[in-house]
């Protein structure tokens, strides 16, 4: 077993909370978390619905390993139809909330309809109720969580909630739990806001006690932890430097998108790197980085906790930001920094704190600011429109934009649209560095060919977490492939995409895959859930999930025309670095990718493929 075996169905329109058994046939076919929640969504939702309408549904889901001693077994996902892309959205988060939901005895929460007034969902083991949230509406994430704990006189409650960005339907609003962990991408927070749902607060005291073979499970998880501890990335690099270990590495390979992807190397990279975070500042002699932090059950502990320089302009007369807080992770440091040409570490952390406090995605926000800065330099946008001078490299503009986005003040309302809609509005659609409306993460897709293909074909729009081929193309995990090669990349991307879907659906963190293959995951799932979860079966489950998501997107109206990269990556060659002169070879890779996926030239899974995967 290891599944709780039941889901909570909440109808916000009628105000009901009903317990249902989990469809165990689906659990065996889609595992849990991302896979199982997506199965429920595609079965129940018309792919054509408006993501911000009453008809959309959203699902909070844990996996079979969530809430157990399996390393990193604390993940949950939020699955819905995303407002940024119009595609299936699936955002994954760590922290402690997912394990709390599982320990309360639930695999999932399905939320339907729309509440007539702001509410939050409170779950205490089997009991679930909707509670008036009119006093919480308008509050930030950092105000909401303590307010709920105080109200219930229970500091052990865990909260997954939106800030003002979600309430105001910023199209890349996040759902934040435990103050600074987030289901960050694709605008899942905006869907929550559109439903007048402020938070899901959980207290679980039942625990996870139905492991199939506890003795074998303890042995398998111990072995898994030993592999993580002995690996250079998960045992040393990530705990010491965090994901920020990548900043200098990716800059050196010439794949650090800079100034809205005009360049592939950033001269300020060293100033915003892991090494810079650990170096004592001139002002107070203290390092920016305070400590590392783990999510629930995680034996890697890549999370960063930092403290801004008290004298920095961004927090002048703002004592509430003078404490330690989450950040910076690599993606945020890149999007807020290199993507805008800003090399002020303290400013990046300030903007990052606002992303956590008000619940919006630093990747899409930072990349949108990058497009705005380019349009400012072109003269398309002016100081009068923006409220500030905003050339590339302006830390002041970055901080100002971060302050006006969540509550939609002035130009903040437009920043909240994301780069695709914003650039289109001002007649410059080619300046949006996005796929399917979602902004790129921190690796250049014209220099590293595999990741370009992974972005173009990702089911939730541009994303590094749907097929992290950087592991192979840069770090040599599990085998080194050449970034510039297009040959072999369709196979590589498919293998990463399928395996990732299985990792995600188990309820563990994808970062384990730096050290683990499915051969390390299988014994943990077999002892927890059942013998059928072999490496082969897990690979098939991953492929099944991928095709199911794709099929949903096809029915939502996406075609092969949407599997494309911005013109800039196809025509403007990298100017410097080892990949100088290269553009994306997507047109060579995409047909091959469709072929090995068993899809027709329009990018639709063939009837044969669907049948083979039981779809």
């Amino acid at each position: 077993m290891s599944w709780a075996g039941k889901l909570l169905r909440v109808n916000l329109t009628s105000g009901t909370c009903i317990s249902e058994p989990i469809n165990m046939k689906w659990a065996k076919e889609y595992l849990g978390s991302r896979g199982l929640a997506s199965k429920y969504l595609v079965e129940e939702l018309d792919p054509k619905v408006d993501p911000l309408s009453t008809e959309n549904k959203m699902i909070w889901a844990t996996g079979p390993l969530t809430g157990t001693m399996a390393s990193t077994g604390g993940r949950y996902t939020v699955v819905t139809k995303g407002p940024l892309t119009g595609a299936i959205a699936c955002s994954n988060s760590g922290g402690y909330w997912g394990a709390e939901l599982k320990m309360a005895g639930w695999d999932m929460v399905i939320v339907e309809g729309k509440s007539p007034k702001p509410v939050y969902l409170y779950i205490e083991n089997d009991k679930a109720e909707l509670i008036d949230a009119s006093e919480l509406w308008g509050k930030t994430v950092w105000e909401t969580e303590p307010a709920i704990k105080t109200k219930h006189q229970d500091p052990q409650i865990r909260v997954s909630c939106i800030g003002r960005a979600g309430e105001n339907e910023v199209l890349y609003a996040a759902i934040v739990n435990d103050l600074h962990r987030a289901a960050g991408r694709s605008g899942v927070g905006a869907v929550m806001g559109s439903k007048n749902l402020k938070a899901v607060a959980v207290r679980g005291t039942k625990g996870v006690g139905n492991i199939k073979n506890p003795k074998a499970f303890m042995e398998a998880t111990r072995a898994g932890k030993a592999v993580l501890a002995g690996n250079a990335v998960t045992g040393e690099g990530l705990p010491t430097y965090g994901t920020q270990v990548l900043m200098n590495v990716i800059n050196e390979v010439g794949a650090l998108p800079t100034r809205n992807h005009q360049d592939v190397q950033f001269d300020g990279a060293k100033d915003i790197s892991a090494e810079a975070m650990a170096t004592p500042r001139a002002s107070d002699g203290k390092a920016h980085l305070v400590t590392n932090q783990a999510c629930f059950a995680c034996t890697i502990a890549c999370g960063r906790i930092s403290k801004i320089d008290d004298t920095h302009f961004s927090i002048e007369n703002k004592p509430q930001y003078m404490n330690a807080s989450g950040g910076l992770e690599y993606e945020a440091a890149w999007a807020l920094g290199a993507a805008n040409g800003v090399n002020d570490l303290e400013a990046l952390q300030f903007a990052n704190m606002l992303c956590n406090e008000d619940g919006f995605d630093p990747i899409s926000f930072g990349a949108t600011v990058g497009a705005v800065m380019e349009m400012y330099e072109m003269g398309v946008l002016t100081k009068e429109q923006l409220g500030i001078e905003a050339p590339f490299g302006s830390a002041k503009a970055l901080c100002y934009f971060a302050e006006i986005t969540a509550n939609g003040v002035g130009f903040g309302k437009e920043l909240g649209l994301g780069s695709a809609r914003l650039t289109k509005k001002y007649g410059q659609p080619d300046l949006s560095m996005s796929v399917k409306g979602q902004e790129f993460p921190a690796y250049d897709g014209r220099v590293i060919q595999g990741i370009g293909l992974a972005y173009a074909t990702s089911n939730r729009g541009a994303c590094h977490l749907r097929g992290y081929t950087i592991a192979s193309e840069v770090l040599g995990i599990p085998v080194k492939t050449e970034p510039a090669d297009t040959q072999g990349k369709p196979e590589l991307v498919k293998a990463f995409q399928d395996a990732t879907a299985a990792f995600d659906s188990a309820g563990i963190c994808i970062f384990t895959s730096f050290a683990w293959t499915l051969a390390d995951v299988a014994p943990q799932l077999q002892s927890a859930c059942g013998d059928e979860f072999t490496v082969e079966n897990l690979t098939t489950i991953g492929e099944r999930i991928w095709n199911m998501e794709r099929d949903f997107n096809n029915r939502a109206g996406f075609t092969s025309k949407d599997d494309k990269l911005p013109k800039r990556l196809m025509t403007e060659a990298a100017k410097t670095g080892p990949g100088k002169g290269s553009v994306s070879g997507l047109e060579k890779m995409l047909p091959e990718y469709y072929k090995i996926r068993g899809w027709d030239p329009e990018g639709r899974p063939s009837a044969e493929t669907l049948k083979r995967l039981g779809l």
């Binding site: 625990g207 996870v208 783990a294 034996t299």
Partner: protein, 158 residues
């Protein structure tokens, strides 16, 4: 030789493996709410601090118990609750200055750290050695070594 649980909060990452190991050892379930060791997170400073019974010699809980349900394990030094004897009156929870003995609704008894009979599961599960199980007389050894290193290895002024 008796050993003590030794906690170095600087090394704690907040992963809660210790809490799960504790609940699994005593109840056969992964359930942080049943753990006898708790990790406290102080968000404003980034500190994570594991905290549990120190097995104090005075043992106020043991002294306060009206039915002698708490006894000394002479091998490990742990003060151990006997579920058969405990009546759930909770007086021990009031007398403990540190809050490390607590009532359990499900059983109607109290629970506290019993050092797992001499092989504490929390220390085994801790991935960073924030929790170790060391010679009870020398819990200060690591700190002494640190200072010895600082003082003894600095350049002599003359």
């Amino acid at each position: 030789m008796q050993k003590s649980l030794h906690i170095n909060a600087d090394k704690c990452t907040g992963c809660l493996q210790c809490e799960m190991a504790c609940s699994y050892e005593h109840y056969g379930v992964f359930n942080t709410s049943k753990s006898r060791i708790k990790v406290f997170e102080f968000h404003d400073t980034g500190k994570k601090v594991p905290y549990t019974c120190t097995q104090c010699s005075e043992a106020w809980c043991l002294q306060a118990c009206p039915v002698d349900a708490i006894s000394l394990d002479i091998i490990t030094g742990a003060k151990v609750v006997s579920d058969d004897t405990c009546v759930g009156c909770k007086v021990c929870t009031i007398s403990c200055p540190f809050g490390t003995i607590n009532y359990v609704q499900d059983t109607g008894k109290v629970q506290k750290c019993d050092l797992c009979g001499g092989d504490p599961a929390c220390a085994t599960a801790c991935p960073t050695q924030a929790i170790t199980y060391v010679d009870a007389d020398w819990t200060g050894l690591d700190k002494m070594r640190e200072w010895a290193d600082k003082l003894g290895n600095q350049n002599s002024s003359n």
